[in-house]
């Protein structure tokens, strides 16, 4: 899953190569007689997409098509709480995560041997299996005897609250757990992007005496802005669908007050045996997801972001 890392530097490598030699339509001529093979090569993915993505989406839309379901949702106070939680979880979680990742990507490029070693450790949460990692986070925080409470008491003498007894602390820990798991991933992306930035621009800025914060605000950030935007949008979509974090860290405690849409849909489907309502709850996020997705796809295709 070093995945998107490949993007930025490779993207930066593409323009010079294509600028030197005139672009010509690749392959068109070469493979003209191979219509049948082309179809055969495309067929597996087309089939997977149609059968396992398009059909389920269509089926979901059909199941959740009755307006009565949405009236039922609007009448459910838990749904409204959940909507607010989702907004907070995604809004705070994504922005905090991306901004910290951007700053930390600069920190990790400092030329010190111990920072290189630290980066390896910092990346551990990312490939760690999600369910197990979040169960461990849950255990750290639970009750009086959780590791966090014990550490706070032994080291600083602070009597910490029982986090999952209060809605706001439970929400905060959900967000923190999400950031813990996913910030390394985005940090790596930004590190790769920073490495791909042209050296001379930074050198010129250094000669002009721009240092620290000013170089970041006026030189580095403008060059990363487009990537930052696309990553934020993509992360927004993925975070809306983040089921594991909330389900295993707070589990909705106290009494379903910290659920997000992804976990509430699960409850509607399995606790209330009402899958249509579950899908409707999920689909109620579409008014946000469609514009975000459209902007992201446009940015993806028109500019060389290269995720």
């Amino acid at each position: 899953m070093t995945d998107l890392v490949s993007g930025p530097p490779a993207a930066a490598a593409v323009p010079p190569a294509s600028a030197e030699r005139p672009r010509r339509p690749l392959g068109r001529g070469t493979y003209r007689e191979d219509r049948l093979w082309t179809a055969a090569f495309i067929m597996p993915y087309a089939a997977v997409f149609l059968v396992f993505t398009a059909c389920p989406i269509g089926y979901g839309l059909w199941m959740a098509g009755r307006p009565a379901l949405y009236a039922q949702l609007a009448d459910d106070p838990i749904y409204l709480t959940t909507l607010f939680n989702t907004l907070l979880f995604v809004g705070v979680g994504v922005n905090l995560k991306m901004f910290l990742a951007l700053l930390l990507s600069g920190f990790f490029l400092r030329p010190r041997w111990w920072i290189k070693a630290l980066l390896v450790i910092y990346l551990v949460p990312w490939p760690l299996a999600a369910v197990q990692a979040f169960i461990s986070v849950h255990w750290i925080l639970i009750g009086d005897m959780g590791l966090v409470n014990r550490l706070l008491e032994e080291l600083f003498g602070i009597e910490a609250p029982i986090w999952f007894n209060y809605r706001w602390t439970a929400l905060a820990w959900n967000i923190a757990a999400h950031i813990w798991k996913w910030m390394p991933f985005w940090t790596v992306i930004f590190i790769a992007a920073r490495l791909a930035l042209p050296r001379d621009v930074n050198d010129a800025a250094a000669i002009d005496g721009a240092t620290g914060v000013r170089r970041f605000v006026h030189v580095t950030f403008p060059m990363l802005a487009n990537l930052y935007l696309v990553c934020t949008l993509l992360s927004t979509l993925w975070t809306i669908g983040d089921f594991n974090t909330v389900y295993f860290v707070s589990g909705g405690a106290p009494v379903m007050s910290t659920d997000v849409l992804a976990t509430l849909a699960f409850r509607y489907t399995f606790d209330s045996f009402n899958p249509a309502l579950g899908i409707a709850a999920v689909l109620s996020a579409l008014p946000v997801m469609i514009p975000v997705g459209l902007v992201m796809i446009r940015r993806f295709q028109t500019r060389e972001v290269g995720l």
Binding site: A11, A130, Q132
Partner: protein, 295 residues
């Protein structure tokens, strides 16, 4: 660094500032270390507990008498909750590996066709891939579960594999197409003039050249399947099909579970992708020309 050394005697405030920066980054480093490793430390803390229930309920912050007994229990399946652990591990592995191989195969075929053969449908397929890429996985889960009922694919690992492949392939296509755009088209032309067919170009030229990006996409698919809980929970029902993620999810709130053994099992399961990731990191990063930060 040399500039820093030369500049040292010139002005004092600058030195002070430099010192503060170093202290600040050391503090940040310590904070990041604790932040990153606390949950991992907790896993080991509970797993190294000789008797289940001691640490998590008495609040030790270090294992007073560390013991590897919990790992022995897992290896020997010596607990009623872990009786079928290795079978479940095998189920997880089967889903992960099948997802990985199918994603690599389907993704590379589609990427080759779209990127090199350039059919008219290419735009549509890229659009479909982008669309899937942008859909949050958990959002598709419930409709997918219902659709599998319609298809009659209930309680079979292939339904889970289908879900994971359909989620992972878009990423594979995007990455492979991107990487392959660096391979000159003249290579294809030359091979065609020598009489190679489409499949031959794919097998003998395309695949070897994209191997690093392909291994990246394969790891992505494996990790995706390994991290999954919700699809496995929805689509698999019988005892024999159970996976490790499901086992751990089920026992999550069970107060009777032997938590030291459960955590030992969690460590064995959770560390596999970490090992794969760090084992292959240098190879993949080196070939793709990235990872200079830590190389």
């Amino acid at each position: 660094m040399t500039a820093a050394v030369l500049a040292r005697p010139v002005r004092r405030p600058r030195n002070l500032r430099r010192l503060l920066v170093e202290i600040g980054s050391a503090l940040l480093g310590v904070a990041l270390l604790i932040w990153s490793l606390l949950p991992v430390y907790n896993m080991f803390l509970i797993a190294l507990d000789p008797d289940e229930g001691d640490i998590e309920f008495t609040g030790h912050i270090y294992p007073p008498e560390p013991s590897l007994d919990a790992f022995r229990v897992v290896l020997m399946q010596d607990d009623r909750y872990l009786e079928q652990f290795w079978q479940q591990f095998g189920n997880s592995l089967f889903i992960g590996v099948a997802t990985m191989l199918l994603t690599a195969l389907i993704g590379s075929l589609a990427a080759f066709a779209i990127g090199r053969m350039r059919p008219g449908t290419g735009r549509w397929l890229t659009g479909a891939a982008l669309l899937t890429y942008a859909i949050p996985a958990a959002f598709l889960a419930i409709p997918f579960h219902r659709a599998m009922h319609l298809y009659g694919l209930t309680d079979t690992p292939w339904a889970v594999i289908a879900a994971q492949v359909s989620l992972a392939t878009p990423f594979a296509i995007l990455v492979l197409r991107h990487y392959a755009s660096l391979i000159p088209a003249e290579l294809d032309d030359a091979a065609r003039i020598d009489g190679a067919s489409g499949p031959q170009v794919y097998r003998l030229i395309y695949l070897p050249l994209i191997a690093p990006a392909l291994s990246l996409a394969a790891i992505y698919a494996l990790v995706l399947a390994w991290n999954d809980y919700i699809y496995q929970f929805l689509l698999l029902t019988s005892q024999g099909r159970m996976t490790v993620a499901m086992l751990q999810g089920h026992l999550f709130e069970d107060p009777d579970a032997a938590w030291n053994a459960m955590m030992a099992a969690a460590i064995l399961y959770a560390m596999l992708p970490v090992a794969v990731f760090f084992g292959l990191r240098r190879y993949v990063a080196g070939r793709l020309g990235i990872g200079r930060a830590d190389g």
